[in-house]
C-alpha cells in the first residue's frame, strides 16, 4: 500500500473493538476449555469435554434445527425482499427514496415491540383469527402462535429490511441498457431476468441471505416469544447455560461453535460476492 494515512484513521475504531469486543469475547470463549465447578463455579483445569458435548446428538440436533429455521427464514426473506427491491428499483427514480424509506420503516421501532405485535396478530383470538371469522371461516382455526411457523414469520419480518437494502443496491446500479441488450438479442423478459439480471445481482442476494441466516441462527428473543417455551433454538440454549443452568463453560463451547459457523458463512459470502462481481481487473 502506497498511502498509509487512511489506516491510521482506523486506529480508534480498532482499539475500541479490541478492548470492548474482541478481548471480552475471547475471555468468555476461553472458558470453554475449563471444567464446570460445583455450584456454577469454574474449575481451571483444561478439558475438551465441553466441546465434545456440543456434538452430542441432543445438542447437535438443536444446531441443525436452528440452522433449518434460519435457512428457511433467510430463503423466504430473500424471495420476498428481492421482489420488493426489484419493484422499488423499477419505480420512477423520484419515488424510490420514499419507497425505500417505507420498506425500512419497521426497523426504527423496538425489536421487542415488533415481535409482540405478532403475538397480537397470531393469538388464539387475535387479529388473524378475527379476520378469518369475519370472512365466514367457522371451523376450528389451526394454532398459529407458539409454532415453528410463527418463529419463521417473526424472523423474516424482522430482517426483511436488510434483504431489501442488500438487494436494492445492485439492482439500482444495473444499467437498464444491459437488460435491453438481452431483449434486443432475442431473449424474453423471463430469460433476460434469469440469464442477465439475476446473475448480476447475486452478490446482493448472497449478502441478504447470509445476513438473515447469521442473525436468525443465534436469535433467542423471537423463538422465546413466538415459539413458546417448548421450543429451543441454539440462542435459547446458550442463554440458558449462562443465565439459568449456570454452566458457563458449556455455554462458551456452544457460542464458539456458533461463531465459527457464522464466520465461515460470512467468509464464503465475501468470497462469492467478489467472484460474482468479476471485479478482479487486470490493469494492463
Amino acid at each position: 500500500m502506497k498511502d498509509r494515512k487512511p489506516l491510521y484513521l482506523m486506529t480508534p475504531a480498532l482499539a475500541w473493538l479490541t478492548a470492548f469486543m474482541v478481548i471480552p469475547c475471547l475471555l468468555i470463549l476461553a472458558l470453554a476449555f475449563f471444567r464446570r465447578g460445583l455450584y456454577g463455579g469454574i474449575e481451571y483445569t483444561f478439558t475438551l469435554e465441553n466441546l465434545a458435548l456440543v456434538f452430542d446428538p441432543l445438542y447437535a440436533g438443536i444446531f441443525l434445527k436452528s440452522a433449518a429455521i434460519a435457512g428457511l427464514s433467510a430463503l423466504i426473506a430473500v424471495i420476498i425482499g428481492y421482489a420488493a427491491a426489484f419493484a422499488i428499483a423499477a419505480a420512477p427514480s423520484r419515488r424510490q427514496p420514499i419507497l425505500l424509506f417505507f420498506a425500512v420503516l419497521p426497523f426504527w421501532s423496538n425489536y421487542l415491540v415488533r415481535t409482540y405485535a405478532w403475538i397480537v396478530l397470531l393469538n388464539r383470538e387475535g387479529l388473524i383469527t378475527g379476520l378469518a371469522r369475519w370472512l365466514g371461516y367457522d371451523a376450528e382455526m389451526p394454532r398459529l402462535l407458539y409454532t415453528e411457523g410463527a418463529v419463521v414469520v417473526g424472523l423474516v419480518y424482522n430482517y426483511l429490511p436488510f434483504v431489501i437494502l442488500a438487494c436494492y443496491a445492485p439492482l439500482s446500479r444495473l444499467n437498464p441498457e444491459i437488460a435491453e441488450a438481452s431483449r434486443d438479442l432475442g431473449a424474453s423478459s423471463w430469460t433476460t431476468f434469469r440469464r442477465v439480471v439475476l446473475p448480476m445481482t447475486v452478490p446482493g442476494i448472497a449478502t441478504g441471505f447470509v445476513f438473515v441466516f447469521v442473525l436468525s441462527i443465534g436469535n433467542f428473543v423471537t423463538p422465546a416469544l413466538l415459539g413458546g417455551g417448548q421450543f429451543q433454538m441454539i440462542g435459547n440454549l446458550i442463554y440458558a447455560q449462562f443465565l439459568t443452568a449456570n454452566d458457563w463453560p458449556f455455554g462458551a463451547a456452544l457460542s464458539m461453535v456458533l461463531i465459527a459457523i457464522m464466520m465461515g458463512l460470512l467468509t464464503l459470502q465475501t468470497f462469492a460476492t467478489e467472484r460474482a462481481s468479476g471485479a478482479k481487473r487486470e490493469e494492463s
Partner: protein, 357 residues
C-alpha cells in the same frame, strides 16, 4: 421501384410535452449505409429505440419490409441495436457475449460454436475469447458489441454513436472497418453520430435531424455542397456566412457593395439574407491597383498550416466574424502570406448558397 426495407410514416414520439421525434418521413433501402446526424437532444437515440422496439411511437407507422412493426417487441424484430454504452454482459466472457444472440434463437450447439469462432476472427478478438468485458480496452469492447449484434445477421443494424468513446486515431480505423463489414455482410446499417465528418466519410446517405424533425436527407456530396438551410449549412463542415440585403434584384453586402451570389427566386425587395460559401471555394490574390477595386479585401489575422492545406482567417468588411479561406499547398506557395497582409477575395456565384437570415 423496389419496396424500401424501412419506411417511416409521420413517426412521432412525445414524452409529455417534449417532442423527441416529431413527424418523421423516411425511406431506407436495403443495403444502405445510412447516417443520422444531429446535435445532442435532436431525437437520434429516441428514433433508434423506436426502430429497435424499446419505445412505442405515439403516432405514425414504422414499416419493415412493408409490415407495421410499431408494436412488435424487441426480441421479435429482425433488428439489432448496438448501444451507445455497448451494454455488454459483465458476468459473461467475450465468447459468451457473442454467443448469446444465437442461443436465444435455439441454434444447435455445434453451429453456435463455429459461428462464434468465425465472428471472433472477424472482430480480431479470438485470443481474448475467455476474458470478461471489464478486462478489455474501449476499442475491444466496441468490437465485442458489434460482433454480438452482427452474428444475428439482422435485416437492420442500428448503431448509436458507435465510435463516440474511442480516440481519434482509432475512430478513423473503425470507420473504415465498419464500412467494410457492412459491405461484407450486406446488412443495412443506420448509424447515429453527432460527428458530421464521420457521417460524410461512412454513409451512402445522411439525414440531418433538428428538434425531432428531418431537416435534409441526401448523399454526403449533396449535403455538403447543397445544404437546404442555414442550420444544415452551419452543421456540416466549415461555412462562411455573409449578411446581405436584396436590392434591385441584386444583393448588397455589409460593406454596401454588391455581393457575388446565385440569387434564388422568390426573394422580395429588402429581404435580409445570408450568403454562404465554403472556405475551399474562396480565392485570394495580391491586391491589384488601388483600394477602390471591385473585389472585397481582407487583412490576414492568422494562418494555420494543416499539412495538405493552409487555412487563412481574414478580417473583412463583409461580416463581423473572420472569413475562413482554405488554400491547397500549391496555391499557398504562389502568394507570400504573412499576418497583416491585405488580400483580394473572389469567388464564383455558382459556389454560393443564399438563405433567409
Amino acid at each position: 421501384m423496389t419496396q424500401p426495407l424501412l419506411s417511416l410514416r409521420n413517426v412521432q414520439k412525445h414524452f409529455g410535452t417534449v417532442r423527441a421525434v416529431d413527424g418523421l418521413n423516411l425511406d431506407i433501402q436495403e443495403n444502405e449505409f445510412f447516417a443520422l446526424l444531429g446535435a445532442s437532444g435532436s431525437g437520434k437515440t429516441t428514433l433508434l429505440r423506436m426502430l429497435a422496439g424499446f419505445e412505442v411511437p405515439t403516432g405514425g407507422e414504422i414499416l419493415l419490409d412493408g409490415k407495421d412493426v410499431s408494436n412488435v417487441p424487441p426480441n421479435r424484430r429482425p433488428v439489432n441495436l448496438m448501444f451507445q454504452s455497448y451494454a455488454l454482459f459483465p458476468h459473461m466472457t467475450i465468447a459468451q457475449n457473442v454467443a448469446y444472440g444465437l442461443e436465444m434463437e435455439k441454434c444447435p450447439k455445434a453451429e453456435i460454436k463455429t459461428r462464434v469462432g468465425e465472428m471472433l476472427e472477424i472482430i480480431q478478438l479470438s485470443h481474448l475469447a475467455g476474458r470478461k468485458p471489464d478486462q478489455l480496452s474501449g476499442g475491444q469492447r466496441q468490437r465485442v458489441a458489434l460482433g454480438r449484434a452482427l452474428i444475428k445477421r439482422p435485416r437492420l443494424l442500428l448503431l448509436d454513436e458507435p465510435l463516440g468513446a474511442l480516440d481519434k486515431k482509432l475512430r478513423g480505423d473503425m470507420q473504415l472497418e465498419l464500412k467494410r463489414l457492412q459491405h461484407e455482410f450486406g446488412i443495412t446499417f443506420i448509424i447515429v453520430t453527432h460527428d458530421q465528418e464521420e457521417a460524410l466519410v461512412m454513409a451512402d446517405r445522411v439525414a440531418i435531424l433538428k428538434d425531432g424533425t428531418l431537416l435534409q436527407c441526401a448523399s454526403p456530396h449533396d449535403i455538403y455542397e447543397r445544404p437546404n438551410s442555414r442550420y444544415a449549412a452551419d452543421f456540416i463542415g466549415v461555412m462562411n456566412f455573409m449578411p446581405a440585403k436584396v436590392s434591385n434584384g441584386r444583393l448588397l453586402g455589409a460593406h454596401g457593395k454588391p455581393v457575388t451570389a446565385q440569387i434564388p427566386e422568390g426573394l422580395h425587395e429588402g429581404a435580409d439574407v445570408v450568403v454562404a460559401i465554403r472556405p475551399e471555394r474562396l480565392k485570394v490574390s495580391a491586391p491589384q491597383g488601388d483600394a477602390a477595386g471591385s473585389l472585397p479585401r481582407g487583412r490576414v489575422l492568422a494562418t494555420a498550416y494543416h499539412g495538405l492545406d493552409l487555412q487563412l482567417h481574414l478580417e473583412t468588411e463583409l461580416c463581423a466574424d473572420p472569413i475562413t479561406v482554405r488554400l491547397t499547398a500549391q496555391e499557398a506557395d504562389q502568394i507570400a502570406l504573412s499576418q497583416g497582409d491585405q488580400l483580394e477575395l473572389g469567388w464564383d456565384a455558382k459556389d454560393t448558397r443564399v438563405f433567409a437570415a
